[in-house]
C-alpha cells in the first residue's frame, strides 16, 4: 500500500543557536496511509505537537523531509499553502481560534480561503456539521455563546469543511465529558469511513486511542519509541510504563489476571475484546 504521507528523517530544533535551544524531535520516520487511523501517544513534551505541526507545513523541519503523495510539501510556497487544504490540522484547544459573528461563517472560513463558490461552501458547511456532530440550529448563533464542547466541535468542523485527505487532531477529546469524547471519536471514525481519509490523532487517553487507532506511534523524548498495531504496542506494558505512559484499564486488569496464573492473551486493549475472550473462556453467561 502506498503511503499518502511519508516522513523521512525529520528533526526539529527550536530557537537554534540561542540559550533556549531545544531539540524537540529527532530523526522521525513514519508513513501515513489513506483510510488508516494513526494514534500518537507520548508523555508531555515528547514532541507530539511539534511532529504534527510539520505535517501541514506550519513549521519547517531543521532537517529531513515530509512528502505528500511523493512530493515535498515545502517544494514551493504555493504548494505549502495548498497542502493545508489537503492536510487538515486541528490544533490543541482549537476553540480559541473562533472569530466570526456566526458559527456558519466560522466553519465557512476554510472553504472560503480555498476560493470555492457560495453554493459549494454551503454544502461543505452542512456536511462538516454532520461529521462533527453539530446541531444545525447552532449555525446562526455567535460562536462565543456556545459551551466549551460545542466550540470544540465547531473548530473541528472548520477543518473538516475543507474535506482534507489527512485529518490531524491534537488532543481533540481533552476536557470533554465521557459521552462527549465517545461521541466525538465516533464522528471522526465516520468521517474516515465516508471519505477514506487518513486520520492522525494525538491523545493522552489510552482508552480513546485503543478505541479508534489502527496503528500506534509511541513517542519518547522526541524519538519513535514504539510503533505497531495497538495489540503489539500494548503488549509491551513494561516499556510503556517505563516511558511514563499508562495502559488502558482493561489491559491492566488482564495483566493482573495473568499474574495470578490465568491463561489469557497479552494484547487485550478494548472492553469488547475482553468480553469476547471471557465468553470463549466458558463458564458463566453474558447477558
Amino acid at each position: 500500500m502506498n503511503a499518502i504521507m511519508s516522513i523521512r528523517g525529520l528533526s526539529h530544533i527550536y530557537s537554534p543557536k540561542t540559550p533556549f535551544e531545544c531539540s524537540a524531535i529527532d530523526n522521525i520516520n513514519l508513513d501515513i496511509h489513506a483510510g488508516e487511523t494513526l494514534g500518537i501517544i507520548g508523555h508531555t513534551g515528547s514532541g507530539k505537537s511539534t511532529l504534527i505541526s510539520h505535517l501541514n507545513g506550519l513549521i519547517k523541519p531543521s532537517s529531513g523531509s515530509i512528502l505528500y503523495e511523493g512530493e515535498d510539501i515545502f517544494k514551493s510556497k504555493e504548494f505549502t499553502h495548498n497542502i493545508r487544504f489537503k492536510v487538515g490540522l486541528v490544533l490543541q484547544y482549537p476553540e480559541y481560534q473562533l472569530f466570526e459573528e456566526t458559527v456558519y461563517k466560522d466553519i465557512a472560513f476554510g472553504p472560503q480561503n480555498m476560493g470555492l463558490s457560495g453554493e459549494e461552501i454551503k454544502t461543505r458547511v452542512l456536511e462538516a456539521c454532520d461529521f462533527a456532530g453539530i446541531d444545525k440550529t447552532l449555525l446562526p448563533l455567535s460562536p462565543f455563546e456556545l459551551s466549551g464542547g460545542q466550540k470544540r466541535r465547531v473548530a473541528i468542523a472548520g477543518v473538516i469543511a475543507m474535506r482534507p485527505r489527512v485529518l490531524i487532531l491534537d488532543e481533540p477529546t481533552a476536557g470533554l465529558d465521557p459521552i462527549g469524547r465517545y461521541d466525538l471519536l465516533k464522528h471522526i471514525k465516520a468521517y474516515r469511513d465516508a471519505t477514506g481519509a487518513a486520520i492522525v490523532i494525538v491523545s493522552h487517553s489510552m482508552e480513546d486511542i485503543a478505541a479508534i487507532a489502527d496503528k500506534l506511534l509511541v513517542m519518547n523524548n522526541g524519538t519513535v519509541y514504539l510503533y505497531g498495531t495497538p495489540g503489539e504496542v500494548f503488549s509491551h506494558s513494561e516499556k510503556l510504563l517505563a516511558a511514563g505512559l499508562d495502559l488502558p484499564q482493561i489491559t491492566h486488569i488482564f495483566n493482573k489476571l495473568k499474574e495470578r496464573g490465568i491463561n489469557l492473551p497479552s494484547s487485550v486493549y478494548t472492553v469488547q475484546q475482553a468480553v469476547e475472550i471471557l465468553k470463549n473462556l466458558g463458564g458463566g453467561t453474558n447477558d
Binding site: S15, L58, Y96
Partner: protein
C-alpha cells in the same frame, strides 16, 4: 517566528552583571547614556566601547546574540548614516554630485552617530533587559521612584501595571502564534497580497486574541481579589533590595570610567580648539 526576536528579552544567568542590584543597573545605564552624549572624539568613545565590551564578556552572553539584537535597528542606523553623510559639513570635500556634497566631516559625523546609537542600544540590552528579569526591573523602578509617593504619584500602581504587562507579553506572543497557526491551518494567508489585504487577514487573529486577553484580565483581577489584594497600602515585599559590596564596587568602577571618558573628551576638544 516572533519569539525569535531577541529584542528586549531576558536571558537567565548567574554572572556578576545578572546579580547586580536592579537599581544600580538602571542608574548606571542612564549615566552611561548621559556620558555617551557628552563624549567627543575617538578616545572617549573607545573607552566607552571597551567598558561595554568588558560588561558583555562578564555577562557570558554570546556575541552572536548581541549582533542579532542590532538587526532590528539596522534601518535606523542606515538612515542616520545616510542623513549625516549628506547633511553634516566640515572637513575637506570628497565628492560633489550636483548640489550634493560629501565631506570628510560628514563621514566622520555619520560614523560616530551610528557608533553612538549602537553603543546606546547594546548598553541598554546588556546592562538591563538581557540580564535583569522583568520582575527585578519593576521592583528596582518602584524603589527608585518611591520618593515620588510623597507627592501622591501612584508609584506602586504604576509598577504593578508594568509587572503585569511585562508578565503577559510572552503569553500574548505565544497566543498570537497559536492563533496564527490555527488560522493558517484553515488556509489564511498572512504573507502575500497588498498591505490592505494583509491587514484584513489579521482580523481572524486579532478578534480571538482580544477576547482571550479580556477574559484573562477578568480572571486575573478575580484571582488577585481572592488573595486580598487592595493596592500598595501596607503591602510587604518578598524580595527586599539591598546593596552589597559587589554593587558598590561596580558603581565606583563604572563611574570612574564614565568620568574619565567625559573629562578626556573635554580636554581633547579643548586641545583641538587651541
Amino acid at each position: 517566528m516572533i519569539k525569535d526576536v531577541s529584542l528586549g528579552q531576558f536571558f537567565p544567568g548567574n554572572s556578576i552583571v545578572h546579580r547586580l542590584d536592579p537599581r544600580v543597573k538602571l542608574v548606571l545605564t542612564i549615566v552611561f547614556i548621559i556620558a555617551l552624549f557628552m563624549c567627543r572624539g575617538p578616545v572617549p568613545y573607545a573607552i566607552m566601547a571597551a567598558f561595554l565590551f568588558t560588561v558583555i564578556l562578564l555577562t557570558k552572553i554570546s556575541f552572536v546574540l548581541i549582533f542579532r539584537s542590532i538587526k532590528p535597528i539596522l534601518i535606523l542606523l542606515i538612515f542616520t548614516a545616510v542623513l549625516n553623510i549628506f547633511y553634516a559639513t566640515g572637513g575637506s570635500e570628497l565628492l560633489r554630485l550636483g548640489s550634493v556634497v560629501i565631506t570628510t566631516g560628514g563621514i566622520y559625523t555619520a560614523f560616530f552617530m551610528v557608533f553612538r546609537i549602537i553603543l546606546l542600544v547594546v548598553a541598554t540590552f546588556v546592562m538591563l533587559t538581557y540580564t535583569t528579569s522583568p520582575i527585578m526591573l519593576t521592583d528596582g523602578l518602584e524603589s527608585l521612584l518611591s520618593p515620588l509617593k510623597k507627592v501622591k504619584f501612584p508609584v506602586h500602581e504604576l509598577s504593578m501595571m508594568m509587572s503585569i504587562a511585562l508578565r503577559f507579553i510572552p503569553t500574548l506572543i505565544e497566543e498570537t502564534e497559536k492563533i496564527m497557526s490555527a488560522q493558517k491551518s484553515r488556509g489564511a494567508d498572512f504573507e502575500t497580497g497588498s498591505i490592505f489585504r494583509r491587514a484584513k487577514a489579521l482580523i481572524p487573529v486579532l478578534i480571538p486574541l482580544f477576547i482571550n486577553a479580556f477574559k484573562r484580565a477578568e480572571d486575573l483581577a478575580l484571582a488577585m481579589e481572592c488573595r486580598c489584594y487592595h493596592g500598595g497600602e501596607g503591602r510587604v515585599r518578598m524580595r527586599i533590595l539591598k546593596l552589597c559590596p559587589l554593587d558598590y564596587i561596580s558603581i565606583i568602577v563604572s563611574l570612574s570610567v564614565f568620568i574619565l571618558a567625559v573629562i578626556l573628551s573635554q580636554i581633547l576638544t579643548f586641545g583641538v580648539l587651541i
